[in-house]
Symmetry: C2
Subunit: 489 residues, 2 copies
């Protein structure tokens, strides 16, 4: 197949010329999800020109320094949706100079398609190919279909380092719109849309050909805590199978991003599971390995977020993986109806949990945003089994990840069924708040903080109530950290 549909060759131009299409005050929808599939040349050219101020920047999820970093450091970003992880962007958001709304990742496209939110002026999409029918994305879909659909103009960054054989891996389908019928996906590998993003010729304003691969995400190797957490989760899931609450090959898995997620998947292989399926946001290295080894039979996602070596494995054997992986728009990969129907096992990583099972996924000490909620709410709220896993302490023990009261809540007690730390498992299902507090403190908290948590809980119990708290002390651990650099007394 061809890289570029020949009649479109006249649309090829330099990154600088394409960047000039983006004017001050515009809303730009960029492709990209978990550092994969985002354009680089055009945003860097926009930043270098420096004239397109007050931009509203939308992406799928996190994108790299050549996009978020370059634009915000050039002072061009006014608003940012729906998720970010870039250091400069985070600092601007916490300083209040960039206005950021932290949305569920399945919401953005749905809201745009209902007519809510900004009008998309330009969509800038990294592609592996442009055919007569439409755009073939990179190894991530994100919100690209919606951005192209709603944009006045589309700029394509055609990346010649991407294999043409990505064509056929995507399944582009939009469940948005008023009162649509059911999404006809039953198995994780079902394809219900087109392998390309439809894009009318008259919208396609510019094609910029690039040959820069871009940086791959890097993953920390699993540390002892991640390993212990993974072992606990694997034992817990084995017990669920033994109790008849899970089939032998488990309900489809959703697994968050990071080293804990990687360790859990590797642990499932060691634990002897097979025939697994994933219905998740992101496929990372360990999942790719399990697909290669036949442990995972099929996976649905919106991004293949892989280290350099793993990406080479994918690209060198793309025919094999194309039969076993479907790349979907994030509105579909995270669709609440499918999450509920498939009875997903959702596994995500919090910043902190409180003794009653509420979870903070976004705000350090309640006020400073780390990244955003991402897809965790799409999955946890609607899953068949919702697990949150974290080390019991952070910053070398100065922060307890189990606190009396979360300083910000992203997942409520109603949506958190199991909490796991390296210390153990708290199964919160069908437990009252008092039972939950006892279980979480006993099984999950770090021994350094356990007596302090017990003391808080006893003092709260004396005041009574369904969910006992000492309001004057509920957030005192966070304040102590701000004052002294440690939550310890």
């Amino acid at each position: 197949m061809e890289r570029l549909y020949a009649p479109y060759e006249s649309k090829v131009m330099s990154a600088e010329a394409a960047a000039a299409l983006v004017k001050a005050g515009m809303t730009v929808g960029f492709s990209g999800f978990t550092m994969v599939g985002y354009p680089k040349a055009v945003p860097m050219a926009i930043a270098a020109a420096g004239t397109a101020k007050d931009l509203t920047v939308l992406t799928g999820a996190s994108v790299g320094q050549p996009l978020d970093g370059a634009l915000v450091e050039a002072g061009l970003v006014a608003k940012r949706f729906p998720y970010q992880t870039n250091k400069s962007m985070r600092n601007a958001i916490n300083a209040g100079t960039v206005l950021y709304a932290d949305q569920h990742l399945s919401h953005t496209a749905a809201f745009l398609n209902r007519g809510s939110g900004p009008k998309i002026d330009v969509a800038i999409i990294e592609c592996s190919a442009v055919t007569a029918e439409g755009l073939i994305p990179a190894a991530a879909v994100g919100n690209s279909e919606t951005f192209v659909h709603r944009a006045d103009k589309v700029i394509v960054e055609l990346n010649t380092t991407l294999p043409l054989e990505l064509n056929g891996m995507h399944d582009i389908y939009s469940p948005s719109g008023l009162e649509g019928g059911p999404v006809p996906i039953v198995d994780v590998l079902d394809r219900v849309g087109t392998p390309y993003i439809p894009c009318p010729a008259e919208k396609l304003a510019a094609i910029v050909v690039t040959d820069t691969a871009g940086d791959c995400p890097k993953f920390k190797p699993a540390d002892a805590d991640s390993q212990a957490i993974a072992d606990h989760i694997v034992e817990f899931l084995k017990a669920e199978v033994a109790a008849g609450r899970q089939p032998a090959s488990l309900s489809p898995l959703q697994s968050g991003v990071g080293s804990v997620a990687n360790a859990v998947l590797s642990g499932l292989k060691r634990g002897g599971f097979s025939g697994l399926r994933m219905f998740t946001e992101v496929i990372q290295n360990s999942a790719l390995e399990l697909i290669r080894d036949g442990v995972i039979a099929g996976a649905s996602c919106t991004s293949l977020s892989l280290s350099e070596n793993a990406q080479r494995e994918l690209f060198d054997n793309i025919g094999f993986y194309r039969d076993r992986v479907v790349l979907r728009p994030q509105e579909v990969s995270n669709f609440p109806g499918l999450v509920r129907r498939l009875g997903l096992i959702a596994m995500n990583t919090p910043i902190e949990c409180d003794i009653y099972g509420n979870v903070n996924s976004t705000h350090v000490m309640g006020t400073k945003i780390m990244n955003g909620i991402g897809g965790s709410g799409d999955f946890a709220r609607n899953a068949g089994l919702s697990i949150f896993a974290t080390s019991s302490v952070a910053k070398g023990g100065l922060i307890s990840c189990i606190v009396p009261m979360c300083a910000h809540v992203d997942h409520t007690e109603h949506d958190v069924q199991v909490i796991v730390t390296e210390q153990g498992v708290a199964d919160l299902r069908w437990k009252s708040p008092r039972e939950r507090a006892e279980t979480i403190i006993k099984n999950c908290s770090h021994p350094d903080y356990r007596p302090m948590l017990r003391e808080y809980y006893q003092e709260a119990l004396a005041l009574g109530g369904h969910t006992p708290h000492v309001l004057t002390k509920a957030l005192s651990w966070h304040q102590r950290y701000l004052d002294t650099g440690s939550m310890k007394l």
Copy 2:
């Protein structure tokens, strides 16, 4: 049609004899939702006997004094799921003598059908008729299908005051189970199941015939605040239609329980809307009126919670309403996939909202439970448009319903799109936390508390962060109320 399938006449017995089937330590699943369709004679007989201690009591949602009150006052209840509103039950829960887990109302059946939670020993179901095929419920379905399906024994309370013409109004369908296909409902009135709850003859252990109608719910007339809130919501929805974000007859409506909900629906009629549809948990008086008047063309719900007069209107014209109302299991009426697909307008009532748009629906001053989250999370999390409406103050002004930080969070900032009080509307869509705070304080807070909120926010802003807070003062309003009986300084 017949009230009781003749071969089952041998199963008829007294309430006392049926009650004797319930033993200490058992788990009992009762029919009933929002004070409708719950058994009365058998639970009162269980309470009178006083021997069945340590019961685990499940219902659909709220039930009356003859059930929750009688059992808890007799000291027979150890655990309670998933929702309650009874004063004695609430007191026992807040004292910690009854263990209560506050679940999303769509979750309970789904969890039970996945094998999580207690084994149901006995189901006790109020019915309007028992046919050869199964049980015809009263004017509420709740979790009855799941309880009957999973119970060892079923006790029917056959209430002869209920019209036989309820037969045909119910649509019994279970979306539970691992990896089911799509729920084939597209229009709110679609019927996809059976008009009866299947119940094998061998499970049916007792039939108790009663002729007690039971108390109907009472509704307060709309006060000035409810009226003002309703007017704001109607104006807001008209503007949504004008902006092309809603069709002229609106997306299907979900409306919570209470006088605000009643006032909003009446307001929609006065506002000239027609062809409305509801996909909701509960139909109250005002919705029934709008169905009668042709303003609402069709409604899906799990309970018809009506005053005595409105219930008479329903029963006297049941053929008319049976064509326009479908009564579903709560797992279907509240199914997240349908809520998302239908793009619902969800309208619910909080206890308090904070300046960043988080909502507390359950806990007074953070510790004492009022009722429970009910279906508000099923709807708000997955709706196309999620509105929370409350008076700006409670207890005659001693409590501000807009606070610096919610003392308990049931709906996070990510799930709350619009807040309405009698003061005005805060449209939070696509707004950053700082923009939200300014909008909520300006448009929604009570003038008595507005300067205090501004002062808190300014002090928080000076400390910085994406979501500015003064942790030492964030919960101080609640503590002041506990100390002085007022949130005012």
